[in-house]
């Protein structure tokens, strides 16, 4: 069932549109930085983090990850996970899968696995696009860390992949929430929008100081902690917290999705 899901995604324009949009972001960053005047540091317009890219292609994949994370990643998670069951219900194909028969548990797990696989491929794609164009235009150089020390190219590349891996695990919670919502409705776009709104609401709540008591429990709270990989020595605390939170969201909402779908009357 998992392979069937990937085969279906492979034949949808949607998949390629998302890939093109997200892959284009690091490329845009590279182009924008290339075209901007070789600025004196601190001209005020470009954030310093962005400006460092001028000197190093390694920053392109990293900036790409940082840029897609707050909005495009929840959007992609919402699209894949929110549409997973609800989209099949809306198209009517859900009833034909179930009488084939595909067991309900198996369908939910296959949908989650394919959603996560697509999100993982998407992250690798963004890193790949950034690394390729960043490398072509600027070349790779050792990278300064947030703590002031310098990382070798190999070590920096490893940390960039580590960041992608961390972001991948971080989005698993939102994906599980999306899948759960997807079992509740027969409208694919509805489930997608609901998931995206929840993801963004969580990020907004995370930025409201008066809500600080709940910050640590928000599904997106730990998302930016991957920057700790670029400190020296690496600061693991926030990342560990982020992983625990997304693991809890994943387990709870995957279980809720299995439970809800397992006893749902399929009338679509």
């Amino acid at each position: 069932m998992f392979r069937v899901e990937l085969a279906k995604a492979r034949r949808r324009w949607r998949t390629y549109l998302i890939a093109m949009a997200l892959g284009g972001i690091p490329v845009l960053i590279v182009i924008a930085v290339k075209l901007s005047p070789p600025a004196s540091t601190g001209n005020g317009d470009a954030p310093p983090f962005l400006m460092q890219i001028v000197r190093n292609g390694l920053f392109a994949p990293l900036t790409g990850l940082a840029v897609i994370q707050p909005f495009f990643l929840p959007l992609a998670a919402g699209l894949f996970a929110g549409d997973a069951i609800a989209g099949e219900a809306q198209a009517g194909t859900l009833r034909y899968l179930l009488v084939r028969p595909v067991r309900r548990t198996r369908l939910v797990l296959a949908k989650y696995a394919s959603t996560m696989t697509l999100l993982g491929l998407l992250l690798l794609w963004v890193v790949g696009c950034g690394a390729f164009w960043g490398g072509v235009i600027f070349g790779f150089h050792p990278m300064p860390t947030l703590s002031g020390s310098t990382l070798s190219v190999a070590s920096a590349a490893l940390r960039i992949l580590g960041s992608a891996g961390y972001i991948f695990l971080g989005v698993s919670g939102i994906a599980a929430i999306g899948l759960f919502i997807s079992t509740l409705t027969d409208s694919g776009p509805g489930a997608t929008v609901a998931t995206v709104i929840l993801g963004i609401a969580s990020e907004i709540a995370d930025n409201i100081p008066s809500l600080h008591q709940i910050h640590a429990y928000l599904p997106t709270h730990g998302w930016l902690a991957f920057t700790d990989l670029f400190r020296f020595p690496v600061e693991w605390g926030s990342m560990r917290g982020g992983l625990v939170v997304s693991a809890v969201y994943t387990v709870v909402f995957l279980a809720a999705a299995l439970f809800a779908f397992g006893r749902k009357d399929v009338v679509a």
Binding site: M1, V4, R95, P101, V102
Partner: protein, 311 residues
């Protein structure tokens, strides 16, 4: 072994029964017509029989296995189904859709067998030429035929079809009826729902009539028709014919709207030939005597209306 059994099958939504203590028993190799007006509970029954909707009460056995046991019945793999409209992945071709559903079962021998049958099935439903077009571009009739093809892909022992001729033109309908009849003749059990009596009466071995979730009649189509029959009789002398027929047992007679005709309703024991004989003996010339075509429709409406008495 029985193909489909329901015992006290009930589905309530907010305490209102949609399917109400339904007992069905479909034998192997039978072509069973499941009739009822829209909203009678046909689709809900079919969805419960296939495990899509959980019953509020009662049980279903499909090909001898309980549908709501501890796990979904393996017999679903030996059942082909079309539930309301056919549904496909619009972005895939007809052939790819059949492949997806063949593989979706989880691979193995069953999937391989289905994959090997795709060309045969496409030819059977007349879609060989359109097989590589996206379903998006199919007409409603083509989708309907692909849906029947999907139901047949696994060489099912049992076919469950919900209104299979919806959206087909008259020749398509005839083809489907012929196909179902030949499948039943070669041993496949066919359970087909419809809201049109005329559609099922010609092909079905047995018909059940559902109204408000209850089975209000069941039997061979001919037997159902036997319960009430209407004749249109053309005579030379309407007055004398009325006087002749009125006293007959089981006969209700009235002058027809067209001059020179009578409309005769026959109850159980009265027959058309008795009416004819009585008229001839009385010296009335009968130039035509024909059963009204919508007789079975009348039976159907009568049954359905009877059950509409508020509970």
């Amino acid at each position: 072994m029985t193909a489909l059994v329901t015992r006290g099958l009930t589905k309530r939504y907010d305490d209102v029964p949609v399917v109400d203590a339904l007992d069905l028993r479909i034998e192997r190799g039978e072509l069973y017509g499941f009739l009822g007006p829209n909203g009678a509970g046909k689709t809900t029954t079919i969805r419960m029989a296939l495990g899509l909707i959980f019953p509020s009460d009662g049980e279903v056995d499909l090909l001898g296995e309980p549908v709501f046991g501890s796990r979904p019945p393996a017999t679903l793999a030996r059942t082909g189904a079309m539930i309301e409209e056919p549904a496909f992945y619009r972005f895939l071709s007809g052939r790819k859709n059949l492949e997806v559903f063949a593989r979706a079962g989880g691979g193995g021998e069953d999937s391989r067998r289905r994959l090997a049958r795709i060309d045969e099935v496409l030819a059977l439903v007349g879609l060989t030429d359109a097989a590589n077009k996206r379903v998006k571009a199919y007409s409603q009739g083509m989708r309907q035929r692909l849906g029947i093809g999907l139901a047949l892909l696994g060489e099912p022992e049992m076919l469950v079809l919900d209104e299979p001729t919806n959206g087909l033109d008259p020749s398509g309908m005839r083809e489907v009826r012929r196909l179902l009849r030949s499948l039943a003749d070669s041993g496949t059990t066919v359970f087909v729902s419809s809201h049109l009596l005329s559609e099922v009466e010609a092909m079905c071995d047995r018909v059940g009539v559902l109204s408000r979730g209850r089975l209000v009649a069941e039997g061979a189509p001919g037997k159902l028709r036997g319960s009430v029959e209407r004749l249109r009789v053309e005579v030379d002398d309407v007055e004398r014919a009325l006087r002749t027929l009125s006293p007959l047992e089981g006969v209700t007679v009235a002058a027809g709207e067209i001059p020179g005709t009578l409309v005769v309703h026959l109850a159980r024991d009265a027959t058309a030939s008795a009416v004819n004989a009585a008229l001839v003996i009385a010296g009335v010339e009968v130039s035509a005597l024909m059963p009204e075509r919508d007789t079975l429709e009348d039976v159907f409406l009568a049954l359905v209306e009877d059950s509409d008495v508020p509970r």
